[in-house]
């Protein structure tokens, strides 16, 4: 049997658009001409109804009565349903129970759906849903992480990872610092709000068009709420207008509501959320309260660490167990903690159930150790970059607090390279000089690394399937379990397939993700899309190739090792057969031209009992150097320059990867700077739209942004063409901006005081840090 040209670079003369080359997003023209269809753009089926829900106005209460007469009487209303009208499962919790599709008796957050309406227009449904008269008996509501910690209210048990004897190490360390931080949450703000279109089938099942990262879960939950076997429900995702984790579990409740209404009316139902409803009703990134207690020597080398991360999970578990786990796995970021304890709490609050968001808890965990790095540096009077470099994992100091060995030491060299290419030392000197004389504006600089573990920490999710079909004209369709949300997964998988057959990319099309093509798929999440689905597609190609080579060997009486695929041809000994002729011949000779493929990530395991294992196949790495300018009168700031060097292994598509890096960085910067979720004391979200919730706008993009991929850095693991995952890791590059803001403020105290700066670091919080620095200075003068 022949071996695939797997993991070999693309030949010099080759087909166009293969893996390793930049190729446009498969929908690029459709995007720029408005012809790409999202759920709300699909042609309207006959007799279409529109859904809306009425939601709880109390954070925690018992429903005493619900009068829906005015809702039913509203013009255009066709059906109104409550929890009592759910024929199958009421609970649609994705991993653990706790999420009723419609609240029954008890409500646990403001915005929780309590009944659903189907009407003849979107507007009619929304207007009607506001007319219910609901009587509540208020119950005690817990809103913040601190309140939940005080009451020991958790959605899942707390968990500890420990290595060695941290208490002893802390007690014996020459220096010891303690600190705390509040890290804000984040609204996904995908530009396309949650949406689905559900059509009843002739068999009493449902066909679901959904904007979801997890069509298999949508399929399963719709089947469960209707009490149907899974095969009666199929789900399709062509594309999402952004996901970022917000459509991993949060799309399913809409599909379930729409399916229930479709079931009740026997009519197709479309359900899309207005922006305000989307922001109120769907989960967000967890905000965290973190603490550190760190011991270190006089060089700043960490001897021991005791870290605590506590996430606001909201009212139900959703994915919070794994999210807080990932925060714990990343509380070390890139640093060897030596003797270490990491404790993670999953706090229950009467707020919306927080959910996956790019980084999945990892960013919030990293924030505590990055704060500590800055604080250690200020304490010792050192440049924070030196402390960060000193503490990096390196051979001999390469075991994490959960027992995984860091095998690929990429960051030391990567950071050195970035330090040089960004002129870090020279700019550091210039900035320090500038800050001495500038009366109002102060500049700050920071270079921070990211090390991010790649694999789902829920082991069973690390599997994928694909289908590859070659048609008789040589054109190819690939279908896989991954979903397209703008990240370019479809084009990357198409490039993998084109590379496997060495044909032009235009010959390969990726079709919409559907549960009746590839079943039991994992969510497109954890940055795993191309790692998993690329490998599954490659497996399918390999199976087809095996059959084709076998056929060609016999048909042309040529040894298999003399048969190669190159530049849209099959080279058979001395004969070059054009691809389409070859495929036609294979078809006429009854050779299978399609196959399924499968992939399961090797090597990974984790034991939650002991808190040890190898949860990740490998780590993705990167670093960012950001420079900011801060107004010490107002706290306003701008990011003036950012240099990024990021490790994507051997890139499948460099331009697409750079897009992920830049977009991730800006999204991470937004999370830590202007994006502020404000809740009232009663648990009501007050920032319910883009007028009050400010994601980065065009002027927030650093005017000088230099992004590069780490060259010659193939993944040492056998991933698809030795690439590395790129979806989530760059988000955490935004931490450089936050650290640079602290650096600018620290200049007020000649870098002796490390100012507290909770996130998001809005101008108000930055001015608060400035004021804290000024107070510290005044105190120093008093004591002097």
């Amino acid at each position: 049997m022949r071996k695939l040209p797997l993991n070999t670079p693309t030949p010099a003369h080759s087909a166009r658009g293969l893996a390793g080359h930049s190729a446009h997003h498969d929908s690029a023209w459709k995007h720029v001409s408005g012809q790409a269809r999202y759920i709300d753009d699909l042609p309207m089926p006959e007799a279409l109804l529109h859904a809306a829900v009425g939601h709880s106005e109390q954070a925690h209460a018992r429903i005493l009565s619900m009068d829906l007469e005015a809702v039913r009487a509203c013009p255009g209303v066709v059906a109104v349903i409550t929890a009592k009208e759910v024929p199958g499962h009421l609970d649609i919790g994705p991993v653990f129970p706790g999420d009723p599709v419609l609240a029954d008796n008890i409500v646990e957050h403001i915005g929780q759906p309590i009944f659903a309406v189907a009407a003849t227009s979107h507007e009619a449904a929304r207007k009607a849903a506001r007319l219910a008269k609901v009587e509540y008996e208020p119950l005690d509501a817990v809103v913040t992480v601190e309140q939940a910690l005080e009451k020991q209210l958790f959605v899942r048990p707390s968990h500890t990872q420990q290595r060695g004897e941290p208490d002893k190490a802390l007690a014996e360390a020459p220096n010891r610092l303690k600190g705390e931080q509040h890290v804000g949450g984040q609204e996904h703000f995908y530009l396309e709000g949650q949406a689905c279109l559900v059509e009843p089938t002739e068999d009493g099942g449902m066909f679901v068009h959904t904007s979801s990262q997890h069509p298999s879960e949508v399929q399963k939950l719709v089947a469960e709420v209707l009490g149907l076997p899974i095969h009666e429900v199929q789900a399709e995702v062509r594309r999402m207008g952004g996901g970022f984790g917000g459509k991993e579990t949060q799309a399913a409740p809409l599909a379930c509501v729409a399916a229930l209404l479709a079931h009740a009316t026997r009519r197709p139902v479309r359900y899309r959320l207005s922006r305000a409803d989307d922001m109120v009703q769907t989960g967000k990134r967890h905000d965290f309260y973190n603490t550190y207690d760190i011991g270190f020597d006089d060089d700043g080398l960490i001897r021991g660490a005791d870290l605590m991360v506590a996430g606001r999970c909201g009212y139900s578990p959703d994915l919070s167990d794994a999210i807080v786990d990932r925060a714990m796995f990343h509380a070390d970021n890139a640093y060897y903690l030596d003797q270490a304890r990491v404790v993670g709490h999953r706090c229950k609050t009467h707020t919306v159930s927080n959910t996956a968001f790019r980084g999945f808890g990892g960013p919030q965990g990293m924030m505590i150790i990055e704060q500590a790095m800055d604080d250690i540096a200020r304490h010792l009077g050192r440049d924070p970059l030196d402390i960060r470099k000193l503490n990096l994992y390196r051979p001999g100091r390469d075991t994490t607090h959960y027992g995984q060995t860091v095998e690929q030491h990429v960051l030391a060299e990567l950071m050195e390279t970035l330090e040089t290419s960004s002129d870090y030392r020279q700019r550091r000197a210039e900035i320090t000089a500038y800050n001495r004389t500038s009366p109002v504006l102060k500049r700050g600089l920071a270079l921070t690394p990211v090390k991010f573990g790649i694999s789902f920490t829920a082991k069973h999710l690390n599997q994928a399937g694909a289908l590859v079909h070659i048609y008789t004209d040589g054109s190819i369709v690939v279908n896989h379990g991954g979903t397209e949300m703008g990240q370019g997964l479809y084009i990357k998988v198409a490039q993998v397939v084109a590379s496997a057959f060495q044909v032009d990319l235009e010959r390969v099309k990726v079709s919409a993700t559907r549960t009746d093509k590839v079943s039991n798929t994992s969510p497109t999440a954890a940055s795993s899309g191309s790692d998993l689905n690329g490998m599954a597609a490659l497996d399918a190609c390999e199976k087809i190739l095996d059959g084709l080579v076998d056929f060609a060997s016999k048909h042309w009486a040529t040894p298999a090792e003399d048969i190669t695929f190159s530049d849209n041809q099959v080279i058979i000994g001395g004969l070059a057969v054009p691809w389409e002729t070859f495929i036609q011949t294979a078809y006429m000779n009854r050779i299978p031209l399609w196959s399924s493929g499968f992939y399961a990530t090797p090597k990974i395991h984790y034991d939650p009992e002991t808190g040890t294992g190898r949860p990740f196949l490998y780590y993705a790495n990167g670093a960012a150097c950001s420079e900011v300018v801060v107004d010490t009168l107002t706290g306003e700031y701008r990011v003036m320059r950012t240099d990024i060097l990021h490790d994507v292994g051997r890139s499948l598509n460099p331009e697409i990867d750079i897009g992920q890096i830049e977009g991730g960085f800006v999204q991470g910067m937004g999370w830590l700077t202007t994006e502020e979720l404000v809740y009232s004391d009663e648990g009501r979200l007050l920032t319910t739209g883009p007028a009050t919730y400010k994601i980065p706008a065009v002027s927030d993009c650093p005017p000088d942004l230099r992004v590069a991929l780490l060259p010659q850095s193939p993944n040492r693991e056998a991933t698809v063409f030795h690439s590395k995952a790129v979806g989530e890791p760059p988000l955490m590059l935004g931490i450089a901006v936050w650290s640079a803001l602290r650096d600018a403020v620290a200049s007020l105290t000649d870098y002796r005081f490390s100012p507290p700066l909770d996130t998001p670091a809005t101008p108000e919080r930055v001015l608060g840090a400035v004021t804290a620095g000024q107070h510290w200075l005044a105190q120093q003068k008093e004591t002097a």
């Binding site: 012809q35 701008r638 202007t674 739209g689 400010k694 002027s699």
Partner: protein
């Protein structure tokens, strides 16, 4: 009935629901779904379309607007150009550049970004396109995927390329080579339309007609650019029974100097009055650039910003600082009052039944008068102010001869800081006097804590803005004082 051109084709719409937005009409009535709804509040730009409005000379002014908060009725006599006009490959240079620079990822915001850039491209003749204009053109378009760098690069590339469409191209009129005769054929004058269930939309063409309508329908609501009013429809789901648009009343759209006053009509848009006003008082220019987005400034009007009576409207504080006069009109005729007397309380004004804002009279600068306007918000682009400080100072020989300090975001209305003014007047213009004025500010105002800022931050920043003005007035200072000045 209203008449307009949609991508070159005449559309005549009868029984216009005054609550119907252009976006809703496009997507649900026409099933033209290229234009997206991202927020329905004019904050994200996914719904951006281009309108072409004939000016008094018959030239068509093409502008990017938010179709989600613009009313269908406002289209009478205009051209509407949507992304659907650009479905033929190879497309507009903007589309090519967006592809070549990888400017789209999920693609949902992309049609709006393409339309904003095409609108800018249509204006590139005679201008030297620079990054500043590019960023301004994109300030109202949110993208959550790319981080904007490739979009900026695409804009740079497209702006130096020509677009030469076939005359039959649905958006060929953007090139100004083929003015559509059908547009000129649409009847001028007033417009009135209504639905069978009694909803009504009026757009009078003269002041006299407007007065008459206001007299007959004092319960009607006035609308200009609808950048705020439409939120009642799209966010609060209200049905507004009767809207009267001032958009077609030429007498309300002027912007010209009369003696020692600049008279700005209530229906003049931000983009229309920004130039003349900034020429007199340059401090307005950077502030107006951060007031909403370009799409908002193409529709929003001075009269709307004032009559809306929001405590965080950005135009009233500087106009109050300048001592501007407000001209009201109505069934009982015209009357004038100082702008600061117009605001009675939160969203309460001196407007009487049937009255409307006619114009604002802004004094021209006198000797030694300086104006400082500082806007503070979480985000630099398209954000509502936490605090806006506007200070008009007359400093003679280092002494504050006169001053008016007005703030937004510090009270239930835009308001002057009388105690702080008193603390400054007659005092040397120095740190000690400013410190005294800052102390006085705390007795002038008891601001609120809300989603934009805390009370403490508002007070601290309000005071620090006076410090900034002091530093800015120092002729010896060449160092930038604000992050927006820093390059």
């Amino acid at each position: 009935m209203i008449e307009f051109l949609l991508n070159g084709q005449m559309e005549k719409v009868d029984q216009v629901d005054p609550n119907l937005s252009i976006l809703e009409w496009l997507r649900t009535k026409m099933r033209l779904t290229g234009t997206k709804e991202g927020c329905a509040s004019g904050d994200c730009g996914a719904c951006t379309v281009i309108t072409g409005t004939p000016d008094r000379d018959g030239n068509i002014q093409y502008e990017a607007i938010n179709s989600c908060i613009s009313l269908l009725g406002s289209l009478h006599g205009k051209e509407l150009i949507t992304v659907d006009a650009f479905q033929q490959e190879p497309g507009h240079p903007v589309q090519r550049a967006m592809m070549e620079k990888y400017g789209a990822q999920c693609g949902f915001c992309t049609p709006g970004i393409v339309m904003s850039l095409i609108a800018l491209h249509a204006h590139k003749e005679g201008m030297d396109p620079n990054d500043h204009q590019l960023l301004e053109a994109l300030s109202g378009n949110l993208c959550r995927c790319t981080g904007y760098r490739p979009i900026i690069d695409a804009g740079r590339q497209a702006l130096v390329q020509e677009w030469t469409p076939e005359p039959s191209h649905p958006a060929a009129s953007l090139c100004g080579t083929s003015a559509n005769p059908e547009l000129a054929g649409i009847p001028g004058g007033s417009v009135s339309s209504g639905t069978t269930d009694g909803l009504r939309y009026d757009a009078p063409a003269t002041l006299a007609e407007l007065r008459e309508l206001r007299r007959n329908f004092p319960e009607s609501r006035l609308v200009a650019g609808s950048t705020d009013l439409a939120l009642e429809i799209t966010q609060q789901l209200k049905t507004l029974p009767h809207l009267i648009s001032v958009e077609r009343v030429d007498e309300l759209k002027g912007c010209a100097q009369e003696g020692d006053e600049l008279v700005i009509g209530a229906a003049a848009t931000y983009q229309q009055f920004r130039g003349p006003l900034s020429k007199l008082w340059p401090a307005f220019d950077p502030m107006v650039e951060r007031l909403g987005s370009l799409q908002i400034r193409n529709r929003g009007t001075l009269g709307g910003n004032i009559a809306n009576a929001s405590p965080i409207g950005d135009m009233p504080p500087p106009l109050i600082a300048l001592g501007a006069t407000l001209v009201l009109d109505g069934p009982e005729g015209e009357r004038r009052l100082p702008l600061e007397d117009f605001f009675h309380g939160y969203k309460q004004t001196d407007l009487k039944a049937g009255e409307f804002v006619h114009s604002v009279r802004v004094p021209v600068p006198a000797a030694n008068e300086q104006l400082y306007i500082y806007k503070i918000s979480k985000r630099l682009d398209d954000d509502i102010s936490a605090v806006l400080g506007a200070f008009r100072l007359t400093v003679d020989n280092g002494v504050v001869a006169d001053c008016r300090l007005a703030f937004g975001g510090m009270a239930a209305t835009p308001a002057r800081a009388h105690k702080a003014e008193a603390a400054l007047k007659g005092q040397p213009w120095n740190e000690a006097s400013v410190a005294a004025a800052i102390t006085a500010l705390a007795s002038d105002f008891s601001p609120l804590t809300d989603v934009r800022a805390s009370a403490a931050y508002r007070l601290q920043v309000a005071g620090n803005l006076l410090r900034r003005a002091l530093l800015a007035s120092d002729a010896n200072t060449s160092e930038p004082l604000m992050v927006t000045d820093y390059a």
